[in-house]
Amino acid sequence: MDIVVCVKHVPETAEVEIAVDKSGKSIVTEDLVFDINEWDDYALEEAVLLKEKLGGSIAKILHRAIKDLPFDLILTGAQAGDDGYAQVGVVLAELLGIPHATMVKKVEPVEGLVKINRELEGGLEETVEVELPTLLTIQTGINEPRYVSIMGIRKARAKEINVLGLEDLQLGENEVGESGSWMTVERMFIPPAEKEAEILGGSPDEVTLKIVEILRARGLI
């Protein structure tokens, strides 16, 4: 089975404070660490697991570049941790004229198709069969992304990386970036608070004492 995985580079923002930059249309990225999008990490691991089971090759490429590659399966993350659109994979499938399934939590290849579980709301899942070739967007938690050894990193460094420009992809300037996009950012801002938590200040000893008082006043301890 030949598998293509699409990956995106995003800033790690889960545990850092973010500021909007001067333009008001972007965030300050200088002090942020960039990493592979968390969802894509699970997609890559799933591709490796399938390859180990079935053989074949894995390519890491996005979009126009894919159409001339041999593939049975394209995997992307269900969404990106930065813009959170959750749309790229499905748009790509439609452009390629192949079926898709999103938020996939389990992949089982069967002759000519994949049997998958999609994550729905409230802990519910649905089992769906999709004909190959197909595109699946992978939800986190589907597997345990492996840590790559130093040897593995060395081997990866030696791999040929094919960087394609617009010309290689036969795309015009106006088909990409903001002019090729469905929408234009007007401004970015820190969300207004509907309610603001009362911040308890002080040393750990002091704040925990305040919490105990609050809990006691409410009869919770």
Partner: protein, 326 residues
């Protein structure tokens, strides 16, 4: 008159809440833009749904077909593309749910319509459509303008718009012949898989300690478990903890897990992405401990502690134990 479409989402015999939330917002938009609010109902044997939806919309379009009984993006896309092409609504609202994300991007691509996903607000300015959405896990909002078009597709974040009790609209029910002619080719719904039932039901607990990514390592889990024990409560968590299998799926609080409404919820090392917040924001008392002062969890919490959880939680546990022993 021109229409504004709201796609009805239903599953296992029930209309999903997001439908009424979209109809509420849709009504406001349709009144302001002088368009008809139309609920689009695809399904099989859904007469009862149509009646109920008529209270919230000017019109209910019903396409009844056995192939539409369970959600299937392939069949839904074909029918919706047909309806949009025929009736040219100014806007089609779809829930940003497991169903909506499987459908909206390919539908918009097929019809070459601008799409905005996971929106928390939207408004027309003349023919232009402006949307508000959240990025970076809810830490930043973006106001964006869509490329001008006669018709737009927008997916709406669930639990964003509050459903208003309104005078029933007495919408007309219009049955449309299914445009599906062939069998569904590429995608087949097989069955629903119910979540496994665990030993602890976090939804019925009076005290829930929720743990998130900030706990960093499985080895650190006893710190929060002991806090939950000291309070006589149970341990819940946000998505990353279940993804890493440090706690079972039935402990997950949020959209894809459980909704809890305890007397006390303490969020530890949880930044508060909306998927999590939706599942706990109605708790009686919310206390959050997080080192990022801008963490979205502080926008739903009653009290917050901006500090390292590893410094605060062990002390809190001891103090609570002492207080209970007194």
């Amino acid at each position: 008159m021109t229409e504004l479409f709201v796609l009805v989402e239903h599953r296992q015999g029930e209309i999903r809440d997001v439908t009424f939330e979209m109809l509420t917002k849709g009504r406001e938009l349709s009144e302001r833009t002088n368009t008809d609010l139309t609920a689009v109902l695809l399904g099989h044997n859904v007469k009862d749904f149509a009646k109920k939806l008529g209270e919230y919309a000017k019109r209910v379009l019903v396409v009844d077909d056995a192939r539409l009984e369970n959600f299937n993006s392939e069949a839904y896309q074909e029918v919706l593309a047909h309806l949009i092409t025929q009736r040219k609504p100014t806007l089609t609202l779809i829930g940003h749910t497991a169903f909506g994300v499987d459908l909206a991007p390919s539908l918009a691509t097929q019809l070459s319509l601008p799409l905005a996903t996971d929106c928390i607000d939207l408004d027309f300015e003349g023919k232009r459509l402006d949307v508000v959405r959240q990025v970076y896990g809810g830490k930043v909002n973006v106001k964006a303008r869509l490329r001008e078009s006669m018709s737009y597709v927008v997916t709406i974040r669930p639990a964003t718009f509050e459903v208003q009790e309104i005078e029933p609209l007495g919408g007309e029910i219009v049955e449309i012949k299914s445009p599906l002619v062939e069998d569904i080719k590429y995608k087949r719904f097989i069955e629903y898989v119910q979540p496994a039932v665990g030993e602890v039901d976090i939804a019925s607990a009076e005290v829930v300690v929720g743990v998130g990514r900030g706990i960093k390592d499985e080895e650190n889990m006893p710190i929060v478990r002991e806090l939950a024990d000291a309070l006589g409560g149970v341990l819940g968590c946000s998505r990353p903890i279940v993804d890493k299998e440090w706690l079972p799926k039935d402990r997950q609080v949020g959209t894809s897990g459980k909704t809890v409404k305890p007397k006390l919820y303490i969020g530890v090392g949880i930044s508060g992405a909306f998927q999590h917040v939706t599942g706990m924001k109605n708790s009686d008392l919310i206390i959050a401990i997080n080192k990022d002062p801008k963490a979205p969890i502080f926008r739903v919490a009653d009290y917050g502690v901006v500090d390292d959880l590893f410094k605060v939680v062990p002390v809190l546990k001891s103090k609570i134990k002492e207080a209970r022993e007194e």
